[in-house]
Symmetry: C2
Subunit: 357 residues, 2 copies
């Protein structure tokens, strides 16, 4: 029997393990403090007001979000008064009015990686800040550090407050990649900030961070960290070596609905609740929290197929599954069931679920 | 400029191309008719009442669903009166009451692959039918054809009407795999049905089907087909060779928000709207409908990174993305925007979204 799963659950169920979450939040806050950086957690992972408030209470300077919609859904609390849209923001028909509205309630910064994108925000002159995105080697969005000044100048011409530079060291998502990702991140941010300083932009934020690379950041390199996943962790983090399994604070409970062959069980929690993420280096489509030797060898929309040493869980037994990527798993459910000391204590709305615009 | 995208859309947006959908629905209905099988489309793909009704109007004998919840959400129409829960059904605390309620409004069949699962349905004696799941080589759920009789006898003892056998030839999801998957499917179903006949179970349904393998099914092998994806198709189907790109009836519209390097564009539609599915054999994380040479080389929650020949779409331009797996993409949005002759004509609720229980 599982020690993580309260009795009486209907599966699939997505559970937050409250004590582990609290410990994850506190540990990252302490680490940021220890190396002297501001913590601005990425709220795309949890999308919940309750967790956002807790992050702020533990000292976060504000939140990172991916979209305007995420900020709009999370702002429903006076305690959250500082949002950074950490994305190459491109203003659409409704964006100016929405940003204006947000800026009436909170400090708003947006990411920019082109002069064109900066120019589209000129109507917001004096009301929002711009943070220039640089690429530290991931090859996603962001300009080369040497081109950050040109974007900053465009933002300045549009009347935006140029607040600094940011990057995402996503190359940390490969086995053994965390330390070098943190070095790439630091180099790109420091180079870009220095060039901005020479061009007259002072007191520049250097914002970086991903959960795998966060602990490899050294004092003085960054001024701000934006990890997201750390609140819950997931099978990717376990397999990357970022955390041990007992620091995973979100599980999906599935029931064994079929035992078609010895050593193979089928759970009623599939890709529509775990998320289909499966990097090439992962051992499978997630992990079982309490069966370290088991491997999730197959994943369909409503079937998780597990190879497991016998005797494994029986037909009808409930099993704790750890999704590969917790950010996509949270986005698949309307609420998270909060468990403390083996009992269900709350139900949190995933208020920013599917807030993709 | 795209010929598929109506003007004035806010991105990301998930669109149904109504004329293509209608043609896909009609073509599969005609094919089923041509080979003399009943069509029971899998509604997990679309999760919409409007489409379910259209499938029934075009001659489908009923719907396949994956969960009780999907049936409950789709039954809100007198025209849909026959559901098959095509899953190894395992009755939980609330299942008997829910099945009883459904059975008051529609003919209900459930999949079974163990005597234990059958025994849990004895309270529904005389009210629902059982269809025995056999494995045709996928290695997911289902018993070997030689073990189907034992499960059928358990269902019979529980008082259920044994209606036949079903399988899912998911090995069709590999390049060149469709024809042999259809042969595996036919062999398993015919072998199991013959054994059931010898054991006294007459008039057995032989239910199979997946979108890639459907067209390889021959007259006389099956009595029922359960394809799901065919209503929309997706990048997987295009890359498997099931359909050409112009038979894809669902697109996700993204805006070019960044052009960080020549030949690379970033779209504001990521894994949280496309779905993260990416089989090893796929060329990338989806395709662009109108740029056949482009490849989606990177996918994050809100970034789709495309390698594309210059001149590609400009900053701010909207682009039609074809998700790899349309079933998970539909499940990510509350509504689908319906487009006909280049104009938005309707908005359909994804009523069975996240109905995972």
């Amino acid at each position: 029997m599982s020690s993580l799963i309260p009795s009486g659950l209907r599966t699939p169920a997505t559970l937050v393990l409250a004590d582990r979450m609290e410990s994850n939040l506190a540990a990252m806050a302490a680490f940021a403090d220890e190396i002297g950086v501001d913590l601005r957690p990425h709220a795309k992972t949890h999308k919940c007001r309750e967790i956002a408030r807790r992050q702020i209470a533990l000292g976060a300077v504000g939140l990172s979000v991916a979209t305007l919609g995420e900020a709009e859904m999370l702002i429903g609390s006076a305690e959250i008064d500082d949002f950074f849209i950490a994305y190459p923001f491109w203003a659409e028909s409704d964006s100016i009015a929405r940003l204006q509205d947000l800026a009436g309630h909170a400090k708003i910064s947006v990411g920019l990686d082109s002069a064109e994108a900066a120019g589209r925000l000129a109507e917001l002159s004096g009301r929002i800040a711009a943070v220039i995105e640089v690429d530290c080697g991931l090859g996603r969005s962001g300009v080369a550090p040497t081109n950050a000044v040109a974007v900053a100048q465009a933002a300045d011409r549009a009347g935006l407050d140029v607040a600094g530079v940011f990057t995402f060291p996503g190359q940390s998502y490969s086995p053994g990649g965390a330390a070098s990702a943190a070095r790439n991140e630091a180099s790109a941010l420091m180079a870009a900030a220095e060039l901005l300083g020479e061009a007259g932009f002072q007191n520049q934020v250097r914002s970086g961070g991903s959960t795998p690379s966060a602990r490899a950041v050294r004092r003085g390199e960054l001024t701000e960290l934006r990890p997201g996943v750390y609140v819950f962790n997931d099978a990717q983090q376990v397999e990357l070596g970022t955390v041990p399994m007992d620091e995973v604070a979100l599980i999906v409970v599935g029931t064994v609905v079929s035992r078609p062959a010895p050593g193979r069980i089928v759970l009623d929690a599939g890709a529509k609740v775990l998320g289909p993420d499966r990097p090439a280096w992962a051992s499978g489509h997630g992990r079982l929290a309490e069966f370290p030797g088991a491997r999730i060898t197959g994943l369909w929309e409503h079937h998780t197929v597990v190879q497991i040493e016998e005797p494994g869980p029986r037909l009808g037994e409930q099993v704790a599954i750890v999704p590969n990527h917790v950010c996509t798993a949270v986005n698949l459910v309307p609420t998270l069931t909060v468990v403390d000391k083996g009992r269900v204590v709350d139900e949190w709305q995933v208020v920013a679920r599917a807030a993709n615009r």
